[in-house]
Amino acid sequence: MIERISGKRKAWCGTMKGLCILSLVIVTALTAFMLLYVLFRGLPHITPELLFTSPSMLRHTIGILPDILNTLYIVIATLVIVLPIGVGAAIYLNEYASNKKVVEIIEFAAETLSGIPSIIYGLVGMLVFCQVCSLGTSLLAGALTLVIMNLPTIMRTTQESLKTVPESYREGAFALGAGKWRAIRTVVLPTCINGIITGCILSIGRILSESAALLFTAGFAHNVNGFISGLGSAGATLTVALYVYASERGEFEIAFAIAAILMILTVIINLLTTYMGKLMKRRNGQ
């Protein structure tokens, strides 16, 4: 069969295959380069002093402890708020909704939300949460902005795993006399906990990497606070701190150190989601 192929066809196939391999090499090289370059420039500057102190004007030292804490607070606050809303919305769409029009509207809204750029979230968050709700520039305002941004992610992942729960589970629960809510609470939700966890991990990844939406809602301050007082005051997350140190203060060593930390977290989060995906596939396969 092969000898019948004309030279022209052979050349075309070769070129196409070559382009495919070349593209793949480019993507791999890019990823490897980004990882290695950032780690190479950042890791040497990650010192205990950097990790566990606040910036000090007197000693001319920079520490990122407040930024690490702020990031942690924002992740916790966002997840605590977005989880019930997102999971609840997914439950409504998958378990309760009988009106097709309502489902379409909610799904359309979620899709629209996931397409809106973060800078617009930042602006509207500033208007609505900082000014109208008079929260001021604070971590809470930032977290609420991120809640809306991450709502579609949690909704989608929960909905996808709700769809994999076999109908017979629900019927079994109903047959035993459970009401709808009881069936959902005791049978359906526990079965799709993996999907909800995946949604959480994805959201944590998005929150860690978000900066534009937080710039005007959560601000730039670098103070160490407790959780509750932290939510009420302004604070930079790691990404915002990276931006400030790199573009406004020219502290590239600090910026690369933060970038290296973010890079490591990104890799961990990806390994986790891959692992969760495999776990769910295996369970559904059984």
Partner: protein, 301 residues
Amino acid sequence: MNLRNLIAQKGYKDNPRRLIEDVIHLVFLLLGLVAVGSVLVITIYLVISGLPAIFKIGPAEFLFGTRWASTASEPEFGILPFILTSVYGTAGAIVIGVPIGFFASVFLAKMAPRKVREIMELCIGVLAGIPSVVYGLVGMTILVPGIRILFGVPDGATLLAAIIVLAVMILPSVINVSLTALQAVPREYEEASLALGATSTETYFRVTVPAAKSGIFTAIVLGIGRAIGEAMAIMMVAGNVANMPSIFKSVRFLTTAVASEMSYSSGLQREALFSIALVLFFFIMIINAILNVLKSGRREG
């Protein structure tokens, strides 16, 4: 209908469990409507805060004015440079990023051994997860000096640097979406083509790719959406001067125009920034609409 009628009609009195079930149903409905409410609030606030300045400045002057001097003693608010920069920047990113993403996804979907595909999926996940400020930082320290030396321009923070950063940033979404589309093509199509004597490479490009073309098109439109909405990374590499776009000039995008002046803006300048955000939102809504048309077209097909 008053409350007593409702209670009697639904039989809540005899059956309190039904009342609880209905209340829970209502709670979930409300949670579902949060997303709808959010979209409405975002739209309404952007329109309310963005429209007045457009009319104060004059729609034509605002959209087609070529000079932006918001802090001058006689301020001018023309955002054509930002619009064109966003359009050119996005187009450039698509021209570079889409071919690479397309060929890579064909390889991953059809030619790659399983091990390679798994490693690449992780690579793409990492590439997608890298925060945009990290892209900006790497661009600042490598691309910007690189462009300055390579092309002998006085400052490397140019539209070109932004295009390259954007091209890299849209790669993961382009690859992922086209990959899904390519994998969804029925195996029979390919088998028929192979049986007719086409080589495997010919089959992938002449049969599989055309069959997945609406998915690949979706990937491109998604890439456009991501590129046009990106702010922080390009703010760090594009130099941020309100020039008319040119490949070796320092430029400002719609997104970076908002981000760079917001913190110290006031009065009409601030209102004009919201108008820029409204224009950006308009572009995003057009892209969303195209995505929806593509999606419903695929569902029917």
